[in-house]
Symmetry: C2
Subunit: 144 residues, 2 copies
Amino acid sequence: MLSQKTRYTIRALQHLADRYGEGLVPLSEIVEKQNIPAKFLTVILSELGREGVVLAQRGKDGGYALALSPVDIRYGDIVRIMRGSLALVPCASRFSHEKCKNCVEESNCRLRSLMLQVRDETAAVLDRITLADPIVLEPAYGAE
Amino acid sequence: MLSQKTRYTIRALQHLADRYGEGLVPLSEIVEKQNIPAKFLTVILSELGREGVVLAQRGKDGGYALALSPVDIRYGDIVRIMRGSLALVPCASRFSHEKCKNCVEESNCRLRSLMLQVRDETAAVLDRITLADPIVLEPAYGAE
DNA sequence: TATATTCACTACCATTTTAGTAGACAATAG
DNA sequence: CTATTGTCTACTAAAATGGTAGTGAATATA
């Protein structure tokens, strides 16, 4: 599962992408429209600032904006920044590989081989789509 | 990420699948070959017993065996049993849908639409492969 | 320059989840 | 009747999660 923090991050960045080119967006607007706890969002946006994904300006009329064009921010990148990896097990990460603890020899681990496939399919989706891409909305669960 | 418990579960079931048709496999064998803490594995296997995935016999020469043919146990099923869902967010589960907390309206949530795509790709991999299928091993990380 | 506004950063905290362990009990074979 | 092997409930330590508090720093404007 993605953590709540990662979910907030993605929704906040989507919001900033929608406002891209329109100047600075204050925290309060994102908080209201995206239903994210204000203090927590400052933590998130500061972190994204340090990562170079958003830029911020303090003071009156300050706020946030994307530091890159939405077309240059892939969903996969966002997840990697927040979670470290797209993979479901540490040993199946292609960018930040780690040994799983208490596992069998890696070259002999079928779980790993399988999870590499899952990772690659996940990457195929998340690295193909950027914050600039329109996303076709699915109907809500339970809708006719 | 999959929890350590889920990883142990999958490796234990793979082990039992390899021994399918060869009678009962004692806990100690799985513990040794799969490098899983013994007590923890009893917890896991008991749970799988209650789920109807393995059957067990106590006493001398007792042990565990798959309750179903390996061909009838998909990796997706295992993950669903242990984790509840294949999805990366609660609202993107197809079998055990739940609302995400502090989210926007579901019919308007682009994160959800995207994560449904990821879930479906994940399911395409994990529900296609069963414990009976051979898995092509990937070379270990760092191998030439 | 004083003040209100807005973001930055560190530290802290409560709760939940995770990864086990302990220990008593039940079944079975010999 | 005793060794062996699984069952089950309860417990625990450590880590991760989801925040909040509070202080400080930059900026616009009156």
